[in-house]
């Protein structure tokens, strides 16, 4: 008997219903060995997963065109796997294991078809193509979730790094130091300026020593941001002292026609602090 696509799907559903017990126990058993042993999922969660997965699969196969990935049944299955992947990632599981598990699920279905002797080669090919397409989409959904989660983690780490990489310290009454390390891009300048200006207001700082020893390269944008920061400090009524300008930075700023004429500069952070103390009339001497 030569089945069309729709009847092949029906055959698969029939087979799925007949073999649901075996498939379910195989899925559970494999789930326990992959996720249970590493405490990624509890036995109850694995059982729930197996049941929900089989239900969603039957719902999808019952539709007119199970390969239509825009239909709600397909999206439900994709969302289910996406959430599962997120859960596994959050709990420290490996994505490779989950992808192998998805391949195992596909193998379970294919193996179950071997029990049905009425399915001929053509029907088998149609069903295999269907299974392959569905599981490929599910793998892609999991991969998408994995990438999204990784990107979120990297974004969060970058945000944290930006916030902690520019510590503003009150080194003396009314004197703030700001070591800048790395590149000053627009978003980082915004964060640093916001934090710095608020600190000037709250600490009533009269001098800010900005140390750029850790800045290795400077382009027009970076220098523009530095000048904006200096200007904002001056507008608040504090004195800005720029220290640690490397020779290559000085050369680059000169070639960029950037005038630091209105900015107090000193060679080192130590010299910058001495200048700040001089401005405040503070004298530091040995006993």
């Amino acid at each position: 008997m030569n089945l069309d696509k729709q009847s092949a799907h029906l055959a698969l559903i029939e087979q799925l219903k007949l073999q649901v017990g075996n498939i379910s126990s195989a899925i559970e058993s494999q789930g326990q060995s992959v996720f249970g042993s590493a405490n990624i999922m509890s036995p109850d969660e694995i059982t729930d997963f197996s049941i929900e997965f089989l239900e969603l699969m039957v719902m999808l196969l019952s539709t007119e065109n199970p390969l239509d990935n825009q239909q709600p049944e397909f999206e439900a299955l994709q969302t289910f796997f996406g959430n599962m992947a997120k859960q596994i990632l959050v709990r420290g599981g490996k994505m490779e294991d989950f992808v192998r598990y998805i391949q195992f699920l596909q193998r379970c279905f294919i193996e179950s078809l071997g029990q049905d002797e009425d399915i001929n080669t053509n029907d088998m090919r149609t069903i295999l193509m269907l299974l392959s397409s569905v599981f490929n989409e599910l793998t892609l959904a999991v991969f998408g979730t994995y990438l999204h989660e990784k990107e979120s983690t990297i974004d969060a780490q970058q945000r944290e790094l930006r916030e902690t990489s520019t510590p503003i310290t009150e080194i003396w009454d009314g004197v703030l130091t700001l070591p800048i390390i790395g590149t000053l891009d627009s978003s980082r300048t915004l964060l640093v300026m916001e934090a710095l200006l608020n600190r000037i207001a709250s600490e009533r700082a009269a001098a800010v020593v900005m140390d750029v020893t850790g800045v290795h390269t400077v382009d027009s944008q970076v220098s523009h941001h530095m000048i904006q920061m200096v200007r904002a400090i001056q507008l608040m009524g504090a004195t800005a002292i720029l220290t640690g300008i490397r020779p290559e930075i000085a050369r680059a700023m000169t070639s960029l026609n950037i005038d630091l004429g209105t900015v107090t500069t000193r060679a080192t952070l130590s010299d910058g602090l001495k200048e700040a103390f001089r401005i405040l009339g503070i004298e530091v001497s040995k006993k």
Binding site: M193, E194, L197, N198, I200, A201, R204, A205, A206, Q228, M229, R231, A232, I233, Q234, L235, M236, G237, A238, T262, G281
Partner: protein, 114 residues
């Protein structure tokens, strides 16, 4: 001394404190500017402290008023110092400016006098 939209207070030593109120109309500032300058001249003012504590944002219109006042003060040999500039105002102004403004800045009157 009260003018429409601002308070002028003599704080000694030839210094005057200007506190703008929310009713200050800077859309048409020349009359206000003239009135302020007249008061400053009568008072033999050496330094005008402009209090920005209640000004969270300095937009281009407000900056034009500040700049005009500072330049006018300079022509009358009066130094203008903006005090209590808010972080938000400093941030927005730093982005607008291409050169340092005509007025000086200080945290407050005491800091500037020290």
């Amino acid at each position: 001394m009260n003018l429409s939209g601002l308070h002028l207070t003599s704080i000694g030593g030839g210094n005057v404190l200007l506190e703008p109120t929310t009713s200050l109309d800077i859309a048409d500032f020349p009359p206000v500017l003239e009135a302020v300058l007249e008061r400053l001249q009568k008072n033999k003012t050496a330094c005008l402290y402009y209090d920005l504590a209640e000004t969270p944002i300095i937009d281009p219109v407000y900056y034009t008023w500040l700049d005009a006042l500072a330049r006018a003060c300079r022509t009358m040999n009066i130094r203008m110092v903006c005090i209590h500039m808010q972080p938000t105002a400093a941030y927005s102004l730093a982005h607008q400016l291409t050169e340092m403004p005509a007025f000086d800045t200080a945290l407050d009157v005491q800091t500037d006098r020290a």
